[in-house]
C-alpha cells in the first residue's frame, strides 16, 4: 500500500511505487493485446451467377420440399415459410421470428435441416438433395440483417442458399402477416 508518512519523519515522505509500475505494465499489455485482436475480419460471399437468361431455370431446380424462403423486413424481423411460394392457389403459412440464439431463426434452420434429413432417409428426396434457403430482403431491412442471415447460413452449415430480389407476392405475404399479428413480439 502506498504510505505517506507525515509525522515523525519531517519532509521525507516515502511512497512505494511498485503498484504504479504494475498498473503501467497492465495497461501496456492491455493495449498491445487489444490492438492486434481488433483487426476486422472478412466474410466471403459468393453471389449466384446472374445471367438474365438463366434465372427462370435456376428457380425451377430447387425442389419444394427442401426449400425454405426467408424474408427480411424492418425492425430486424424475419418472416419465413417452407417451399418457394410459387403456387397462388396454396399460399404458404408465413411465420415471423427474430435473430435470437434460442427460439429464433437459427432453431428454424436446424429444424429444417432435420426434416430434410428425414425426407432423405424416407426416400421422398434423393440422397444428394440438401436444404436450400432463399433469402429475399425487403426494402426496409438493414445491412445488419443481411449479414446476420448470411452468418446464420455459415453457423448452421447450410450448403445451398441464395439472395434474390423480393417479389410483390412476398411483400403481400408480409403485409398480410403483419395485419394478422399487430402486436408481434
Amino acid at each position: 500500500m502506498a504510505e505517506i508518512e507525515v509525522k515523525g519523519k519531517k519532509g521525507n515522505p516515502r511512497i512505494d511505487l511498485t503498484p504504479m509500475v504494475d498498473l503501467g505494465f497492465l495497461l501496456l499489455t492491455f493495449f498491445i493485446m487489444t490492438t492486434t485482436m481488433s483487426k476486422p475480419k472478412a466474410m466471403e460471399i459468393q453471389m449466384p451467377y446472374k445471367d438474365e437468361k438463366l434465372t427462370q431455370e435456376d428457380q425451377n431446380k430447387i425442389k419444394k420440399d427442401e426449400a425454405l424462403t426467408i424474408l427480411l423486413s424492418k425492425d430486424h424481423r424475419v418472416y419465413y415459410y417452407h417451399g418457394i411460394g410459387d403456387d397462388p392457389a396454396n399460399p404458404p403459412k408465413v411465420e415471423v421470428t427474430y435473430f435470437k440464439d434460442e427460439g429464433g431463426i437459427r432453431d428454424v434452420l436446424i429444424e429444417k435441416k432435420k426434416s430434410v434429413q428425414n425426407l432423405i432417409s424416407q426416400g421422398v428426396l434423393g440422397a444428394k438433395d440438401r436444404v436450400a434457403v432463399i433469402i429475399k430482403p425487403d426494402v426496409d431491412c438493414t445491412t445488419d440483417d443481411l449479414i446476420n442471415i448470411l452468418d446464420e447460413m455459415t453457423i448452421n452449415a447450410i450448403p445451398v442458399y441464395a439472395v434474390v430480389d423480393i417479389t410483390p407476392v412476398d411483400k403481400e405475404f408480409i403485409t398480410a402477416t403483419e395485419q394478422a399479428n399487430p402486436t408481434a413480439q
Partner: protein, 215 residues
C-alpha cells in the same frame, strides 16, 4: 556491520513503463485515417482481410466511398480516369489521390476535391455526397461501375471488400452488389467485426473437430 537498506528506487522503471505505453498508444494510429466512420456488422467469419484489396465503403446514409490498397494500381487508375474523363488533373492532384484515403465524390467534383490538402479532404469527406451508384450498368450514371471497371483492367485479380455500416438500408447495399453483378464480379468479401461462434451449432461442432485434429 549495519544492514543496508534493500529498497530500490522504482521511479525509473515507472518512467520506462509509461514511455512504452505511450509509444504503443500512439504507434497504433499511424495508418491513414479513414474518411468515414463505419460500424461494421458482426459475423463469425475468421478469415483475415486479403492483401491488396479494393475497398468500397458504404456508410449508414448510403454514401459510397472508394479506395484501392495497391498504390501503383491506384496511380494507373487515376491516370486512366483523368485521360478518359478529361478531368485535367495535375500530377500533384493525382499524387494527392494516390496517397489519400477513401474518395467519395463525383467525377465533376474530383478536381476541386483533390486540390484540397489532407485535413481539408477529411473535413470534406464528412459531407461528401459519395460516388453515384445505382443498379444499372450505365457507366455515365453509375460512376462506381466506371471506377470498378477501370480498376479491374489494372488489377484483374483484385479482391473486392465491402465495408458496409450495419445500419445502412438494404437498397443501398443492393446497389453496390448489383453494380458488382453487372461487372460479373460475383465473389467478394464483407468486412465484419469478429463474433464468437455460438456453442451447440453446426459450425461449433466443425470447429471442435478441427481443433481436435490439431490443424
Amino acid at each position: 556491520m549495519p544492514r543496508k537498506s534493500t529498497a530500490i528506487d522504482m521511479t525509473a522503471m515507472c518512467d520506462v513503463a509509461f514511455l512504452l505505453l505511450t509509444f504503443f498508444m500512439l504507434a497504433t494510429s499511424f495508418k491513414p485515417p479513414e474518411a468515414v466512420v463505419v460500424r461494421t456488422p458482426g459475423s463469425t467469419s475468421t478469415k483475415p482481410i486479403p492483401e491488396g484489396f479494393i475497398l468500397i465503403t458504404l456508410d449508414k446514409d448510403g454514401r459510397v466511398f472508394f479506395n484501392i490498397d495497391d498504390l501503383n494500381a491506384k496511380r494507373a487508375v487515376i491516370e486512366q480516369i483523368n485521360q478518359e474523363k478529361g478531368l485535367g488533373l495535375t500530377s500533384a492532384e493525382m499524387q494527392s489521390f494516390v496517397i489519400g484515403t477513401d474518395m467519395g465524390v463525383k467525377f465533376s467534383q474530383l478536381k476541386s476535391y483533390l486540390t484540397l490538402d489532407g485535413t481539408q479532404q477529411k473535413d470534406f469527406a464528412k459531407t461528401a455526397p459519395g460516388i453515384p451508384t445505382d443498379t444499372t450498368a450505365d457507366y455515365e450514371r453509375n460512376e462506381l461501375a466506371f471506377w470498378l471497371a477501370t480498376t479491374q483492367y489494372h488489377l484483374p485479380k483484385g479482391r473486392i471488400a465491402i465495408k458496409a455500416d450495419g445500419a445502412a438500408a438494404y437498397p443501398e447495399i443492393n446497389k453496390v452488389i448489383s453494380t458488382l453483378g453487372k461487372l460479373k464480379l460475383f465473389r467478394f468479401n464483407f468486412i465484419t467485426d469478429p463474433k464468437g461462434i455460438p456453442p451447440g451449432t453446426a459450425l461449433y461442432e466443425e470447429q471442435m473437430v478441427g481443433t481436435k485434429a490439431g490443424h
